[in-house]
């Protein structure tokens, strides 16, 4: 009994300390925002522009795909990269499902007075005094926030899907090619995710959780695919060498989608879901 009480007290105090640390780290990193229009515009550019943000990761993916010096090493790299793509789909699904389930608005949203429903009570959330960046887009978003226009996506920031997706892809590239992978990982961490922290779009905890999902699922899927689908993977990799022109076209499309966080594929899947509802189930009007 005493042991249980002690453990719950310790867990409570540890969780409080961890939350405080998370907030302090975020506020420390975010403290550079809102001081220089130039700096904020550069950070915002790398957050908003797909080519600047993720084009490098797409490029790294292509470099790793084609960079093998022998047939064997190319084969080995491609097996890892194909599995990485499968893992990335699982990772983004997991992070999206979690973020839609857990109500935790972005820190920039938590600058306002927000209530969350806990049982039958509306409980006011702790406010986060994050600074708003001075670039045009961030200022526009802030004005929209002040008039209550909030993107539903901004209400579920935990875990970060950007962290999940880009860490999974970069780590996969790293497993295929150390040098290129280091570049991809560095870009993901310092440019893509760093920008998310500076702008107050995510807390370190959101990013750590997204990265944990990425590492766990990438490891698991690499293991499962190699163990149970080795034959299929060998066949698929062989096909990419045999039909190199077609596989190049496909891999270009893949790299293109990687560079845009698979937004077009998600839109296409959404379109298919709408079509299914309207045409097959006859729910259209």
């Amino acid at each position: 009994m005493i042991g249980t009480v002690l453990i719950s007290l310790m867990a409570g105090s540890l969780s409080g300390w961890f939350t405080q640390l998370n907030d302090q780290v975020l506020l420390g990193i975010n403290s550079i925002a809102g001081r220089s229009w130039l700096l904020d515009s550069i950070v915002a550019f790398f957050i908003d522009n797909d080519l600047a943000k993720a084009g490098v990761i797409g490029g790294c993916f292509l470099a790793a795909w084609y960079g093998g010096k022998t047939i064997e090493s190319t084969n080995a790299r491609r097996k890892i990269l194909i599995t990485t793509l499968v893992a990335a789909v699982f990772v983004i699904t997991t992070t999206k499902v979690l973020s839609k389930t857990i109500f935790l608005p972005r820190p920039e949203i938590r600058t306002q007075k927000i209530y969350r429903l806990e049982g039958d009570e509306l409980v006011e959330m702790k406010r986060m005094p994050v600074r708003t960046m001075l670039d045009e887009e961030s200022q526009k978003d802030h004005r929209a926030l002040l008039s209550g226009d909030i993107d539903p996506n901004d209400l579920g920031s935990f875990p970060s899907d950007h962290a999940g997706f880009f860490i999974a892809i970069s780590l996969g590239i790293f497993l295929a090619s150390r040098r290129i992978g280091l570049l991809a990982l560095g870009w993901s961490i310092f440019v893509i995710l760093g920008g998310k922290l500076i702008s107050g779009q995510h807390t370190p905890l959101d990013i750590a959780a997204g990265a944990t999902v990425a590492i766990a699922e990438l490891a698991l899927i690499q293991y499962v695919v190699r163990r149970s689908f080795r034959g299929w993977l060998d066949k698929l990799t062989g096909l990419t060498l045999r039909y190199s022109a077609l596989s190049s076209a496909i891999i270009f499309l893949v790299a293109f989608e990687v560079s845009s966080t698979m937004i077009h594929i998600r839109a296409f899947l959404g379109f298919l879901a709408v079509m299914r509802r309207h045409v097959l189930l006859g729910m259209g009007s």
Binding site: F103, K113, Y115, L117, D120, L122, G148, D149, I150, P152
Partner: protein
């Protein structure tokens, strides 16, 4: 909370016995519900709790919006059963005018200065005048261009405000029967219910999950934005102390609804 001077509290949930209210009105210390999910007209006080005044047993199907006159007679609309319904001050339920008189799918309701009732019909795209003895006449015809008169209310100057949540326009009909488009922002505004109190018009927007206040001559201001299961804000009313109450249909099909109180920070809210 977009207006930082307000705070929000959960005033009531299904635990008090209602289903999923749409229209609601504070009147003489009692809160009345047009309970669309619960298929009933209900009243609530702290001492008496929830009281069912009239339900589907009498023929109403989906109470939508309500008004109460000075003699405590309650009138409400029903978008499924149609018609104008009354629960008299001596406890008698009655259908004032039904579908046979052209009231097919009744939505907004307003008490006119002459004592008659104005009823908006979403399928006829008209506003009707209904007298207490059930005579129905056209008040605003199709030529006025109002597609769905979802909610209506008079201000203290005799202007009639009409919320059309299909065309997403807030209209104002002045004393000379000229119709003005007051707010017309297709992409970001869809008025669901309007309520006039103390010189201001309170507006809920179920599509965008918002509560606004509009004061003539001023900009539309957002008081609060709602998200998740509380996004579907429906009815709005204000009590004598100026506290705002909004009904939320969290899940109409499964009769899940709430009432949220939004009051000024400095107000002392009585323990519920």
């Amino acid at each position: 909370m977009t207006d930082q001077s307000y705070k929000a509290t959960m005033f009531a949930t299904n635990k008090i016995g209602f289903g999923s209210p749409d229209g609601l009105v504070w009147h003489k210390g009692k809160l009345y519900f047009a309970d669309e999910g619960g298929l009933a007209l209900e009243s609530w006080t702290r001492n008496e709790g929830l009281k069912r005044l009239m339900d589907a047993g009498f023929g109403c199907e989906s109470p939508e919006d309500l008004v109460i006159d000075a003699e405590d007679n309650i009138f409400f609309t029903d978008d499924d059963a149609g018609g104008l319904w009354e629960y008299t001050n001596d406890g008698q339920p009655r259908l004032v005018a039904g579908k046979d008189k052209g009231l097919i799918s009744t939505e907004g309701i307003a008490l006119a200065p002459d004592g008659s009732l104005l009823v908006g019909d979403g399928e006829m795209h008209k506003v009707f005048r209904v007298t207490r003895d059930g005579q129905v006449s056209e008040f605003l015809g199709i030529d006025y261009g109002i597609t769905k008169p979802e909610s209506m209310v008079y201000d203290d100057r005799g202007n009639l405000y009409i919320a059309d949540n299909e065309d997403n326009v807030l209209y104002m009909l002045d004393g000379g029967r000229k119709l003005h488009r007051i707010i017309d922002r297709q992409d970001s505004f869809s008025p669901e219910t309007i309520y006039f109190a103390k010189g201001a018009l309170y507006i809920t927007d179920s599509r965008n999950g918002k509560l606004y206040v509009y004061t003539p001559g001023e900009e539309l201001k957002t008081i609060a934005a709602f998200g998740g299961q509380l996004k579907n804000v429906q009815g709005v009313t204000v009590d004598d102390s100026g506290n705002i109450f909004v009904s939320v249909q969290a899940d109409l099909k499964h009769k899940v609804g709430d009432v949220i109180e939004i009051s000024k920070e400095q107000n002392v809210v009585a323990q519920k």
